[in-house]
Symmetry: C4
Subunit: 281 residues, 4 copies
């Protein structure tokens, strides 16, 4: 059981060769939002942008496309068909082979399970499932074992119980490890001391964080950030540990500057880079 | 008769345990806006966000939903039916049991009285009535006596006269106290020296504030802030006194930085947290 | 012939009594914009907001209403009928008696002359005509002689020639004075050294300003600012001189901070208050 | 072969006479965007604004017009017909004689080649072709030889190969020079060390820049900035060299402040002027 911060921090900001071009430093797709939960799409995109991917694509229900595109002009937005219930219905014209990472889940609402299963099966790059993306994969975790690229699941305790109803949460580290081994996925078990477990059974605990992050949308920002770092890293370990540390440490830093009441999710997303730059080196 | 600042300031920022999660630190609903007065919905939401609730919900006439959602991605927006006259007509699918506090009124325009009466009867948590919400409850104040949770009314002198036409305003402190005792509600009587009276008859005066706050929309920001603090506090006293002090003191602080002409309501809402952080722990 | 800065600066920021309320410190209406020239409506509104009016109303062609309302939540927006050609067609439901000042013109495009004539006849408070508002009043200046409240015309040289084709501009001060005496209006003749002339024949020259203000939209910001100060002042002289000085001096100050290329109209509007605050007291 | 920075930097910010007015310091048109690639229109416009043109016009597919107009109120937006495929179909009512410079290309998508050919033939001022604008002119470069005003082509290596399939890129400087001589255009060959070649065969290399600029949209910002400087300069040399240096040097400066992950295209566009101002004199 390892404490997370030092190693995680050491890898950030990700190094980038002088000859980098936009297609060589991470192509990321975020699949998020629904008519009911539109803000989640903006937050995951802002979190993703902060992680510095070369190219950022967003697949959104058509009713959200203009709003999010107005906010993030550097993103390429795919407006997608929207079901009667306001959820994303399909991803026509989205080539899942081309992305170094895909993030799916924030604000998806009552989307069909088939959407998430297709991503799990066809996304050639790393896959982050969060929020409703976790609820939709529940009961179908065996599909993850087939994936060649890394998968990351980011449950809070309630979502963890829906995913792994038979794993007791009394021992959070043990629970995360068991879940990771069983699902062949990285587990980011969120909470006051976030636990990370790798598919090979390593476990880390992040001692940092702040109750200022107890706000709707904080997790959406983390999901986007995870995707951005995974899209740029061959090895998932520094990406997962780096994103978890960065998000929590930025929350602490922002709480010290804006008070514990002042770290809404948008402030958090916009504060990730100022924190990292201020934190050196 | 007590001066308000020291005790009010002492409670801010609200303390938050390390184990807080987003559902444990205040779930707030704001009901605001109309086609004619759309900006009020944004302002009450910005004021609410600054108060740090774990979850922020907004029930808005459908014509406003996209605009406000674009501005506050961390909020969950319920687009609601809109009457011919542009007012919010109903709150379908909104479960009034689940909110720790509800704010109702800014920009509502010519909504039906039934809307406000339903909130007064069914909202399980604290209720803040402001602006048109006050006009709509006028003549029906007896419904407030049935409420188990606290009610806060925030009239300026004109609204006070419509609510309590027989209570003379020459003695502002006495008037607020009489109104509070009669209505079983907290009264925040706004003006150059805002008076707060509790339902049990205690009275406070806030000596601070600034004429820079004499701008349309200042009150909308206060209503949102009141709701946010009430949603997080068991006891309404620190929430009401804290919000009144914070709003006025931020106005003074901002006027010193932006001149007396420079504290429009949006600047005020966005300045609440920088003020509190600068004002020390 | 007087140099403008010292006296103009002395009146700013406008003093405001501690007992001010939002209806006692200026109610302003801006009438601006068309489908073709929508940004002008935003710029006049931002300029107006910076001047600190208690209440800000905007009458806009309906296609602009949502966009501008999203940008200025503290404004009350009247969406108005729009003609085939994209211009504002009428002002239904707008009570021209209640405004302390009205600004009309930026971006109006090919509106009907009747619109401007109605404002000149019915607006009970001060009236600022700018841009297309000037073009529409050309040939009908005699209507201004009937007005009880002050009128301000803000032509650049091209607009001046359309308004006063027989007044030579070689002597800018003399031209402005002749125009002011004839039209019974304040004349703000814009250019590198803006000239102000009062209806009683006084003339001022503003030696300040910056070529950084040679940008589309600079004048829209000035029109809004003029309206905001006129709405708050009994006497038009400090309002007109104050706005002209403030706008130009802010342009100089911003050019020193953002370079001569960096003072687009939005940056100018948002820099008015930081300049005034920095210029102290 | 010349190193670019010193001379390029010396010309910035462009000098502007005290008597400048908005029509004397550059009238620029940007033609950009499609339903699929809407953000590119915003980014080219933000880049253009930062260059300080007196007047900024934008010709956009109608579905983008409101969004971009909301973001840049100082721009005059022409909503243009949009083809079935979401591309800009035509430029009705746009007088190509009046612009000192035209930028065409970012985000155009699958527009018709006729659009770009018309611009090449009819634009009286300087013409910048970028991104899809380059793809559309491929195979028709002979039209550029007829132009009286300067043309600037801004390919990255992939676009260069489509434009000049027979010119080997192993020697970047030689390739740019050959392409410039053949096409009678300025060539800005982008990459880690951007190469500029003039139609008369001079070649410059920019040793600066940062891998932080390896982000989607960086090039759109450069295209807008190029157009803005060309619109203000009689001589294209300082405009082209100035824009290339400014964009790259701002990227380095921003990477030092926001980390190598923190220079998304919007941050870049908004950082151009703060960089230039900080860099003195």
């Amino acid at each position: 059981r390892l404490l997370l911060p030092d190693a995680a921090r050491a890898g950030l900001p990700l190094a980038r060769p002088a000859t980098a071009h936009k297609y060589s430093v991470g192509t990321l797709l975020a699949v998020a939002g629904s008519r009911q939960y539109g803000g989640a799409a903006t937050l995951v995109a802002l979190g993703a942008r902060s992680g510095g991917p070369g190219m950022l694509y967003l697949a959104l229900p058509e009713s959200l496309a203009d709003r999010v595109a107005a906010r993030l002009p550097e993103a390429i937005v795919h407006p997608c068909p929207q079901a009667e219930n306001g959820a994303l219905a399909d991803l026509p014209g989205v080539d899942l082979e081309k992305f170094d990472a895909v993030v799916c889940g924030p604000g998806l609402g009552k989307a069909e399970q088939a959407l998430v299963l297709r991503l799990a099966r066809e996304a050639a790059g790393a896959l982050v499932l969060d929020a409703d993306g976790l609820n939709l994969i529940a009961g179908q975790l065996e599909v993850l074992a087939q994936r060649a690229a890394p998968t990351v699941l980011t449950p809070h305790p309630g979502e963890f119980k829906r995913l792994f109803p038979d794993i007791a949460l009394a021992d959070r580290q043990g629970a995360a490890r068991t879940a990771a081994l069983r699902s062949h996925a990285w587990i980011v078990l969120k909470g006051a001391r976030t636990v990370v477990a790798s598919p090979s059974g390593q476990v880390w605990v992040n001692p940092g964080g702040s109750p200022a992050l107890a706000r709707g949308g904080s997790g959406d920002v983390l999901a986007g950030l995870l995707g951005a770092l995974l899209a740029q890293c061959e090895n998932p370990e520094p990406a997962v540990l780096g994103a978890v540390w960065w998000h929590a440490a930025a929350g602490e830093w922002l709480a010290a500057r804006h008070t514990v009441l002042g770290v809404d999710a948008e402030t958090l997303a916009l504060g990730l880079l100022p924190f990292l730059a201020a934190d050196g080196p």
